[in-house]
Structures are given as structure tokens and as C-alpha cells.
């Protein structure tokens, strides 16, 4: 059992000079975790010659109160309370001598609640990731997971709308929602853009969407987009008798301009707006507060996250972003498709979806869920699956992702050989027929293709869509997969 080596508080501890972080109080293997502590787990690759416990202590120190040398001013504070405590270090399976990867360690660190400002993701992140990632002592560092205590969660608004209220407003239950992004990404004029939106919504999708970089450019000013899109949304709604929406992208250079665009969307009667992750954590919180006040669903595009979330050894796992965004208050977040064109291991993605949707999460190492997490009644965020998916994969999508998801088929709708409406009809029919079959108890994983072919007999658009994309798949090895594989153990 590892032992704490903290030097006793007093003259010896505060003599000027450098002492190992382990001795400064940042390594406490017998620390008793409090329910109010914020916990973080990092994957560390220590520099050669730095032993793992010292490395963990250094990460704990530099993400709380330490600096590289002893300072007497610590003694003016309740410093033992404020120091983060690294309480556990585990070697990551399949790393180290004899394997292809240099040794990595999971370091568990506990932070006192008072270190943080309530209701501020900016503050939480400034502490946890603001300083440590550039430290020389650690060659690579990845924030894998966090446990947010109920006491801290209660200081956040959480999702402005949440899955349940969104469904009640849309009047759509018992199936995934369907969406698509207007394509091409850039270049359409407002009038032409609205055409794409009308066709897809009339054809049967629930939502259409601006792409992340459609803001206000020379080829289309944002006001014109909003005006034409609302005509399209309302026409489609009247044609089908359904509630429809188009995510108006209000991302802009300043928060003030974003609020102005959101107000315009509201005045036109839009039920939903969207923002991009790159606007920043504080802006996201501001928009979530606005969205709640104005009965608006808030969609978040995770633009830019792959710059830091894809590589296993360095950066931040997307599941941490999911946690922070749920606290910040978005209602939708892109979270992966498994079978589409973008990165996604099935178990990792299930872990992200669970983080967004659970009322209470248990430890499930195979999904990358390292902590038990009580969500303290915060609303659920609807995961969005977008990127290279098509109707022929409906049985796989439903099996991997469940009902609480927005399935977005951009190319898969707009690229349909018989037109956009046909593409939408194909997707909606494929979804409904698969839900019907799943509920009847059919084995959709194996019979899926057959079920789709049966429906294709009476649904021309579906037949054409299946023909066009029957050979498309994106099979590459995942860059981020679980370290733990569930294995059967002999019962005691």
C-alpha cells in the first residue's frame, strides 16, 4: 500500500528551495474523498526518470496551489485544504516495457470544492487544464474524466431545455429525431439555401441545420438566411402537420452580436438556434441562459474539439467536454455516429452518450467512464449523430445509439439520386420501419438489411437510396479505444 511522504507542516516544509511535489502534500494515497470534492483523472506519460507518483503529485500541484519552489506565503492560508491530492496512480494496461507504447499512468486527483467558483465552466477549466499541460515533467497528458460533485452541479443551470421538454415541444416520442445539414457547406444564397431546407423538411426530416462555419459571409448575410429558412420551416410544417425546426447558427465575433442574432431568430418564430464550441465556454453559458429565458432549444456543434480529443496520449477526452457542456447548458451536442465518416469507437461513443443522458452513471471502464456520477437532476442533453451516415445503416445506428439521438443525414438526404425530398422520405421511412420492427422484437442487427429491403418494395425513394450507397462504409481503426475490456471472471 503506497505511503504518503508529505513533509510535516512547519519550518522544515517551508524552508526556501525545491522539494519534490510528493513531499509538499500533493500525494496522499490514504486521502478520504469527500462527496463535495471535484475529482479528475489524467493519463500521464512521465518524462524519463520521473517516477509516476511524483508526476501525479506535480500534476495535482500545478493544477491547484503549487509553484516550482517553496513559498512562505502558503502559510498565510489553509494550504493543506487547498492542495489538490493525487490519491491513486495505476499503470495503464498494455503500456510500458514489452509493449508498443511507453508507460502511461492513470492519476486520480481530488480538488477541494472551495477552489472553484460556482456556475463557471471557465473557472473550473482554468484550474484543471489551465496550467499543467505544458509542464516539462510530463511528456504527454490527457484529461480522461472528471467527477463533478452534486454540490457543484447545483450551481449550474444545466441544459436550457433538455431531452424531455424538447420532445414535448416537438411532439415527437419513441424514435430518434432526424436532421440534416444544408449542403454545400458554403456558397449558397439565402433563397437557394431556403430551398434545401424546405425540401428536406417537407420530405420528412424534423430538423435542418446550418453548418458550423455558416455565420454571415459575403455569399449570404445571416438575416437573409434566417428569413428564407423560416419561410421554408413554416411551409414544411403546414404541409406535414408536424413541428419542424432549422438550427439558426448565431455564432458571431462577439457575444453581443450573437444575442442580437438569437433575438432575430426568436422574433421570426424559430424553435431552435445553434452555436459552435469555438465561441468559448463563457459565451456558451451566456447563450444557454438566454435560451432558457426565451424558450429556445440550443444546439452545440463541437467545432474544433478533435484538435485535442483524438489522440489517446495527449489532450482531453471528449467525454469531459460532454460533462462541461451539460453543465454549461446546451441541449444538443454532436457526439459521434460509430459507423459514419468521423472518428468513433462504439464503446467510447456509448460512454459519451451515457454522460449526456444518464441521471446517474456508474463506473464502466470499458466505456471510458472512470467515475460514478450523480447528475443531480440536471436535464439531459440530446446527442447528435452526424457525418457520413445513410439510410442503409439504420439498423446499426439504432442499435448503437438508441432512441434519444438526432440522426443527421446531410449528404445522405441531399445526395439522393431522386432529389432532396426523396432523400428525406427514404430516411424517415427507414427509421420508422426499423423502430416498428425493433419494437416487435425482431433482431434488427441481423435482419436490418432485410427489413429495409422489404420496405424498399413499397417505398421507391428508399429503394433508390439503398442502391446508391449500398457499398459505402468507413472502416478505419479508431485512434481512441478503450483500455479496459470486460472479461468474465470466475465467481468467488
Amino acid at each position: 500500500m503506497a505511503k504518503s511522504e508529505t513533509m510535516k507542516e512547519g519550518k522544515e516544509r517551508y524552508k526556501s528551495g525545491v522539494i519534490p511535489y510528493k513531499k509538499m502534500g500533493y500525494w496522499e494515497p490514504d486521502y478520504k474523498i469527500k462527496d463535495t470534492d471535484v475529482l479528475a483523472m489524467f493519463r500521464m506519460t512521465p518524462q524519463a526518470g520521473v517516477e509516476p507518483e511524483e508526476c501525479a503529485a506535480a500534476v495535482a500541484g500545478e493544477s491547484s496551489t503549487a509553484t516550482w519552489t517553496v513559498v512562505w506565503t502558503d502559510r498565510l492560508t489553509a494550504c493543506e485544504m487547498y492542495r489538490a491530492k493525487a490519491y491513486r496512480v495505476d499503470l495503464v494496461p498494455n503500456t510500458g516495457p514489452g509493449t508498443k507504447t511507453e508507460a502511461q499512468y492513470f492519476a486520480y486527483i481530488a480538488y477541494e470544492l472551495d477552489l472553484f467558483e460556482g456556475g463557471s465552466i471557465a473557472n473550473l477549466t482554468a484550474s484543471i487544464i489551465g496550467n499543467v499541460f505544458g509542464m516539462k515533467a510530463v511528456k504527454a497528458l490527457r484529461l480522461e474524466d472528471m467527477r463533478i460533485p452534486v454540490a457543484y452541479l447545483k450551481t449550474f443551470q444545466g441544459p436550457a431545455t433538455g431531452v424531455i421538454v424538447e420532445r414535448e415541444r416537438m411532439d415527437k416520442f419513441g424514435r430518434p429525431l432526424l436532421g440534416a445539414t444544408t449542403k454545400p457547406k458554403l456558397g449558397l444564397s439565402g433563397r437557394n439555401y431556403g430551398r434545401v431546407v424546405y425540401e428536406a423538411l417537407k420530405g420528412g426530416l424534423d430538423f435542418m441545420k446550418d453548418d458550423e462555419n455558416i455565420n454571415s459571409q459575403p455569399f449570404m448575410h445571416w438575416r437573409d438566411r434566417f428569413l428564407y429558412c423560416m419561410d421554408a420551416v413554416n411551409k414544411a410544417s403546414a404541409a406535414t402537420g408536424e413541428v419542424k425546426g432549422h438550427y439558426m447558427n448565431v455564432t458571431a465575433g462577439t457575444v453581443e452580436e450573437m444575442i442580437a442574432r438569437a433575438e432575430f431568430a426568436k422574433s421570426l418564430g424559430s424553435i431552435i438556434i445553434m452555436i459552435d464550441l469555438v465561441i468559448g465556454y463563457s459565451a456558451i453559458q451566456s447563450m444557454a441562459v438566454w435560451a432558457r429565458k426565451n424558450d429556445m432549444i440550443l444546439h452545440l456543434h463541437r467545432a474544433g474539439n478533435s484538435t485535442y480529443s483524438r489522440q489517446k496520449n495527449h489532450g482531453m477526452s471528449f467525454r469531459v467536454i460532454c460533462k462541461w457542456m451539460r453543465m454549461a447548458g446546451v441541449d444538443h451536442i454532436h457526439a459521434g455516429t460509430v459507423v459514419g465518416k468521423l472518428e468513433g469507437d462504439p464503446l467510447m461513443i456509448r460512454g459519451y452518450y451515457d454522460t449526456l443522458l444518464d441521471t446517474h452513471t456508474n463506473v464502466q471502464l470499458e466505456k471510458g467512464l472512470f467515475f460514478e456520477q450523480d447528475w443531480a437532476g440536471l436535464n439531459k442533453v440530446m446527442p447528435v449523430a452526424s457525418g457520413g451516415i445513410h439510410a442503409g445503416q439504420m439498423h446499426q445506428l439504432l442499435t448503437y445509439l438508441g432512441d434519444d439521438v438526432v440522426l443527421q443525414f446531410g449528404g445522405g438526404t441531399i445526395g439522393h439520386p431522386d432529389g432532396i425530398q426523396a432523400g428525406a422520405v427514404a430516411n424517415r421511412t427507414a427509421l420508422e420501419v426499423m423502430i416498428l420492427a425493433r419494437n416487435e422484437g425482431r433482431d434488427i442487427w441481423n435482419e436490418g438489411p432485410k427489413i429495409l429491403q422489404e420496405a424498399a418494395k413499397w417505398c421507391g425513394p428508399l429503394k433508390a437510396g439503398l442502391e446508391t450507397w449500398k457499398d459505402v462504409s468507413f472502416n478505419y481503426e479508431s485512434t481512441d479505444s478503450p483500455d479496459f475490456v470486460p472479461s468474465t471472471t470466475a465467481s468467488a
Binding site: F173, N234, T359, G419
Partner: protein
């Protein structure tokens, strides 16, 4: 050109499929009961998308766990209101949901005139939209 014909209100989980047979409805009822959900039958002659509250054909059947019994209620409703929209909905009382978990149409009027879009021109290029149900031009009970 294959389009959505626009002559059918496509609310609910299965409106893009051919009308469900009794056997199919029974299977969906079984699925809901298996999940521990309560079933309810509702009807309306005003299918406006923002008309949340259809008339209840009796309270939700919290204590009826027999699919045949529930199908009987569905068919009673169809006999009583043959020319109304009728839907079956399921409720979950689980914490974190406490809402509707299924909703599908099981009966439709023979002709569905649908909705017109009324445009009210406003300031600048703004338009206020009203989705107007043709059926509600007539009073209740004379609509379909």
C-alpha cells in the same frame, strides 16, 4: 421526382408507413407494456401541430396490462369516432422521463385537407406565419 405527397398528417412514430394493422398495433402495445409504460387512447378533429391536448378516450390505463384489452379500447374509440384522428400514447413514470414515450396514429379521417399557411407581412422583410387547419373552419363535430 419522388416527393412527400403532403396529403397526410405525418405526426407520430409510424405515419410514413402504411396504416398499422391490428396485429401491428398489438405488437406496439406489447412493447410499451413490457417497458412498464401506461397506455392511453386519445382522439381529435383538430390535428394542428401545436394542439397538444387531444381528447382523452378515458384515463390512461395504468392498471390494464393485457394487450387485447387495450386494443379493445382502441377499437371502441374507432367505432365511436370513426372519422377523427385517434392516437395511442404511452407514459413512463420513471424519474428523468416522467413524460410520453410513444405516440402513433391508429385512425384517420377519410380525407385529410391538412393546413394552409397564412402569411402576415410585417416590418421590413418579416412575415408572421399562421398554420391554419382547414378542418377547423367548421365547428367541432362537423369537421370531417
Amino acid at each position: 421526382m419522388m416527393t412527400n405527397l403532403g396529403n397526410r398528417v405525418t405526426q407520430g412514430q409510424f405515419s410514413f408507413l402504411p396504416d398499422l394493422t391490428d396485429a401491428q398495433i398489438t405488437a406496439q402495445i406489447k412493447y410499451a407494456l413490457g417497458k412498464g409504460w401506461a397506455l392511453s387512447v386519445e382522439y381529435t378533429d383538430d390535428p394542428h401541430p401545436r394542439n397538444t391536448y387531444w381528447e382523452m378516450f378515458g384515463n390512461p390505463m395504468f392498471d390494464l396490462k393485457d394487450p387485447a384489452g387495450i386494443l379493445m379500447e382502441v377499437n371502441n374509440c374507432r367505432k365511436t369516432f370513426p372519422n377523427h384522428y385517434i392516437r395511442v400514447i404511452a407514459f413512463s413514470a420513471v424519474r428523468g422521463i416522467e413524460s410520453v414515450t410513444m405516440s402513433y396514429i391508429v385512425n384517420r379521417p377519410k380525407k385529410e385537407p391538412g393546413f394552409g399557411l397564412v402569411r402576415q407581412e410585417g416590418e421590413g422583410r418579416m412575415i408572421r406565419y399562421t398554420i391554419h387547419s382547414y378542418a377547423t373552419d367548421k365547428p367541432e363535430a362537423e369537421r370531417y
